[in-house]
Symmetry: C2
Subunit: 369 residues, 2 copies
């Protein structure tokens, strides 16, 4: 390992920190596979419950086998905790705190298990939905076990059952966002797990990492930016000015994908079925075309394509979510991946503890100076 020991790669870029069987990401070709299955097929034919079980157990089970994953009821202690939070609390902080409290009450032991993964993934949407209602002065809604997890989340938010198109759209969003390799939040979960800490600590840490705009992004910014642009006719001038001043176009560019993000493609298809965002989507598609053209002109040697956030914004808006819940909804979907990585880390565990280069003062003494 002298080769790795001698180099310093800021941000561990290009450093292989582990092995995984969960996601294969082919940035050059724009391919994303979960345990070998292309994301497009999973969105089209699968549910989040099936995808989560695939990530946890490695097995693809037909829906008729009774794969179920419904939102779980909240223990009174967790509702009590959420009631303490001020209404203006960042929803990511609320989710982090509610799940931390839930972990305190459940006291999961080592090693993490698929059953633990199911439980935390099932309770997380209930935590977020309860907070969202409490901040509005409403009482939480008991989960409906007959609904799939994404549909059940919408139900617990609004106390109304979503229609089939909305339910299907959010299901697709959850499938598409379930897992994506060693991003910063997943890596956080693995580092925490590597100390033999519990699964909930790993998820709580991951939520904290996803909260950062450099990772969880700012999906609501896509909405804001499209709004600022005005009409599609005005968008070209707006984008030119933004690129000239070095501003980032929200919803474009990804650390890994050089080709079109396959998740964006899948979500665009889903968004096209959502009548509630038809006008918004028409504009988004028109603006995307302009943006891709101008980005290619601006940096001909560095391909920047549409990323998952662009059409995620359409889907999340389309199912009626307020923009300030977008990042935390992303976190809910990513639970399958975080916990899947926790299980994978635990089965072949080694403490993740890198070295550091000391660049501070040489030895000195308190009596000096």
């Amino acid at each position: 390992m002298s080769a790795t020991g001698s180099g310093y790669s800021p941000g561990l870029k290009g450093v292989i920190a582990g092995e995984t069987s969960l996601a294969m990401i082919d940035g050059a070709q724009g391919r994303l596979l979960y345990r070998g299955y292309p994301i497009g097929e999973l969105v089209e034919h699968g549910t989040y419950a099936q995808v989560a079980e695939l990530l946890w157990t490695g097995e693809w089970a037909a829906q008729s086998d009774g794969v179920q994953l419904a939102c779980a009821p909240l223990p009174a202690e967790v509702v009590g905790t959420l009631r303490e939070l001020p209404p203006q609390t960042n929803p990511m902080d609320a989710l982090r705190t509610g799940l931390s409290a839930w972990g305190a009450t459940t006291g999961f032991a080592w090693p993490p298990s698929a059953e633990q993964a199911r439980q935390v993934t099932a309770v997380a949407p209930s935590v977020l939905a309860a907070f969202a209602r409490l901040r509005d002065g409403l009482d939480p809604v008991e989960p409906d076990p007959s609904l799939t997890l994404p549909a059940g989340f919408l139900y617990q938010l609004s106390a109304a059952r979503p229609n089939a198109v909305e339910a299907r759209a959010l299901e697709a969003y959850f499938v598409v966002c379930a897992e994506h390799g060693f991003n910063a939040s997943t890596f956080t979960a693995r580092v925490i797990t590597s100390t033999h800490s519990d699964l909930v600590s790993a998820v709580v840490g991951a939520i904290g990492a996803l909260k950062g705009p450099w990772h969880g992004g700012a999906p609501s910014e896509v909405v804001n930016q499209l709004h600022q642009m005005g009409s599609p006719a005005e968008a070209e001038a707006w984008i030119r000015a933004a690129l000239a001043s070095g501003e980032r176009l929200m919803g474009f560019g990804h650390r890994v994908y050089r080709a079109y993000d396959p998740r964006a493609a899948a979500l665009r298809k889903v968004a096209e079925g959502l009548a509630s965002v038809a006008g918004w989507l028409e504009k988004a598609i028109a603006v995307e075309e302009i943006a891709l053209r101008l980005l290619a002109e601006h940096k001909p040697d560095y391909p920047i394509k549409t990323n998952v956030e662009y059409y995620a914004a359409a889907v999340l808006q389309g199912v009626g979510l307020p923009p300030n819940l977008f990042p935390a909804t992303f976190a809910l979907a990513r639970h399958a991946g975080w916990t899947g990585h926790t299980l994978e880390q635990a089965t072949a565990n080694v403490l993740i503890r890198p070295d550091v280069r000391y660049v501070g003062p040489a030895e000195r003494h308190l009596a000096d100076g």
Copy 2:
């Protein structure tokens, strides 16, 4: 960086993941320096407040300059959250949850600052002490701003001001445990910070990592094991049997230190002043001598020395802490280092996102099989 990209080092062992000016750890010589100052001098002449400011700001300020760091009062929301937790909650889970709730109420913005670091370090002991009292059916105690942070923690636990020897002993423990390079919890805090997430999210994640026994260890196990050994005369046979069966001797061995852990040396000196553990300590010193001799016989080529946990157990017992609070007290002390690393990460930030090697199934399709 092709050299680092080609190798895979499990656990990132030997991989340099960043640069730091905070701690210099010389495992071969048994030296630990905070910003250049040897830990032994800092323990002897400094307070935790001075050491924390040194880590946060880089400056060593004489105590007469009015360096203060007292335990902070808890907002009502945090006390309310702690009241929700069952009495049998793991204290690390309680600390994680209470601080997460505190972070939700404060809503710290990017970038992290020394003032934010001061605030979270000052509130953490109040969170843990309040939980410890609530689980016993007692009301939390308002902090006394005239006490140093470690003494104030003891006061909030017991509602009695510690004597000077106890206060000094816990002060030394806090200084010694304040910072230790890129361990798994500190690295977790840096990964979270690298996404531009907030300081409290970083600390909450770090607590989750420290909770793992492979990192935070099991300091109370030192107490248990010494108890199991019986008298020093019986210890030799006990240790021989333990080593023969591959059992780990608690309080010995460290990933980095091959020489005697300088923190153990400093804490032993402090423990010798604590009358309340005089008998226990006498036995611990006798057993240490036997253990070091047998460890050297057992693995002559791999030096295993006393680690910080061994005499930490004496100090923490000596100031009256129950063993189930030992790991969380370690977490309180480590706040200075965690937050110091958060500040350091933020000043020269780059997203920490390593690569992963995919070892799962090749592309396949849902229709297959």
